[in-house]
Amino acid sequence: MTDVTVAKEDAAPVGDLVVLKDVNKHFGALHVLQDIDLTIARGEVVVVIGPSGSGKSTLCRTINRLETIDSGSIAIDGKPLPAEGKELARLRADVGMVFQSFNLFAHKTILENVTLGQVKVRKADKKVAEEKARALLDRVGVGAQADKYPAQLSGGQQQRVAIARALAMEPKVMLFDEPTSALDPEMINEVLEVMQQLARDGMTMIVVTHEMGFARSAANRVVFMADGRIVEEAAPEQFFSNPRSDRAKDFLSKILHH
């Protein structure tokens, strides 16, 4: 896997795309993010893992400001994350997000889900947007479902549409917040395959997941979080075969031995 990633890093312009510095966040008394420093390079695939409640989903959501932060700074492509308003909307258009519960627009068809952002945010021509949407839907393998409504699709299909919807905005970076956690087991692979393809194509990705197989095969780096802190960062091979921290050892022993 590493040789593939080296090739794609060479192709992409070098530089840090997402930089989090000293980020802190509280939910009431709960200190969910504690002094988070994280830098993600262009074209890098970073997988965030950790026990539930460790703050990994919150971390993911702060990057496009679906969650605000109390202190610290987040910059995307050199620009600090703006406060609410036009600037923030513009930045969010550049950051693709895929949710655990898909969140496809329930009253719109699959095709409309994928064209909406292009037309309303990117001001693309409707015809052009539809062509692009159909191409993307074909790419993720749900082209035949374009005229159906989200509720008529399986979870795996819905999540692939959600990926297509995010890709339609031509994002600089894609955030995945536990994209397979709400899926039936037999549908997980079809989503992971799409994500793996995306990683091979050089997309910068931040993936919060419990899929260790995906972390091993597609990630450049694994970030392990516990109790609101980044406890360990390492290449996947090193992390899974030889974790340094006790928390990571403990976590891995619980999930890998059955």
């Binding site: 930045l91 496809l104 329930a106 009253h107 945010v121």
Partner: protein, 222 residues
């Protein structure tokens, strides 16, 4: 048996009721939607205004609002809404205004209950695409909220139809004012009452049925 009806413009009176209902319904749907938008919006001042408006207005009797628009707005302040001195026209317009002011508070709350049925993730996904607040509300949240709010909105519309009778207190020639006149002049007390009751049921029953069908047809599947 029904010859006491002769000489009265029964259809005309109910037509006035229908007109009051339709104009007020359109106005309160628009103003109520704006109020709901304010109540769920990010601007604290607008949220406070929306909340205050709804809690103030829905606790005032409609009769007080209609009387105030006539005695206060028109006769004291001279607001005639372009009625050109024709009392019937002015009363009609003031009644519509009062009905809108009142009914929009209920439309707002019905709509807000609809908004609450839309999962948070819908708005989050829309924001994550880069849509601004107005677009999220207009394109994603409200269309789904309206579909979920059809049943409560039907209740509001039925209540509005019946509430138009309050316009009689400022002399709008709608159904209930005609009923009052007929009861004074004719000896068929029970029959007159029944005729007008039947007339209102003819207006509201189909409203409820149609809105019920509409609600089922447009329901969002999740």
């Amino acid at each position: 048996m029904f010859d006491f009806l002769e000489g009265y413009d029964l259809l005309g009176a109910f037509w006035a009721t229908v007109q009051l209902t339709v104009y007020s319904a359109i106005g309160s749907l628009i103003w109520g939607t704006l109020l709901a938008g304010m109540r769920v919006g990010p601007v604290p001042l607008m949220r406070a205004f929306g909340t205050a408006y709804v809690n103030f207005v829905r606790n005032i009797p409609l009769t007080v609002i209609i009387l105030f628009s006539s005695l206060g707005l028109y006769q004291t302040l001279g607001v005639d809404l372009g009625g050109d001195g024709i009392v019937q026209v002015i009363s009609f317009r003031l009644s519509v205004l009062g009905l809108i002011v009142y009914t929009s508070a209920f439309v707002c709350e019905a709509l807000r209950s609809g908004i609450n049925t839309v999962p948070v993730g819908q708005a989050e996904a829309a924001r994550a695409l880069g849509l601004n607040f107005g677009q999220v509300l207009r394109l994603i949240v409200l269309p789904q909220a309206f579909r979920a709010a059809v049943a409560p909105l039907a209740n509001v519309l039925i209540a509005l139809t019946k509430n138009t009778t309050v316009a009689a207190v400022i002399g709008v020639a709608e159904a209930s004012l005609l009923m009052k006149e007929m009861i004074e002049n004719e000896a068929q007390l029970v029959l007159i009452g029944a005729v007008f009751a039947f007339g209102f049921v003819c207006l509201t029953l189909p409203t409820g049925l149609l809105m019920g069908l509409l609600g089922k047809k447009v329901a969002v599947k999740r």
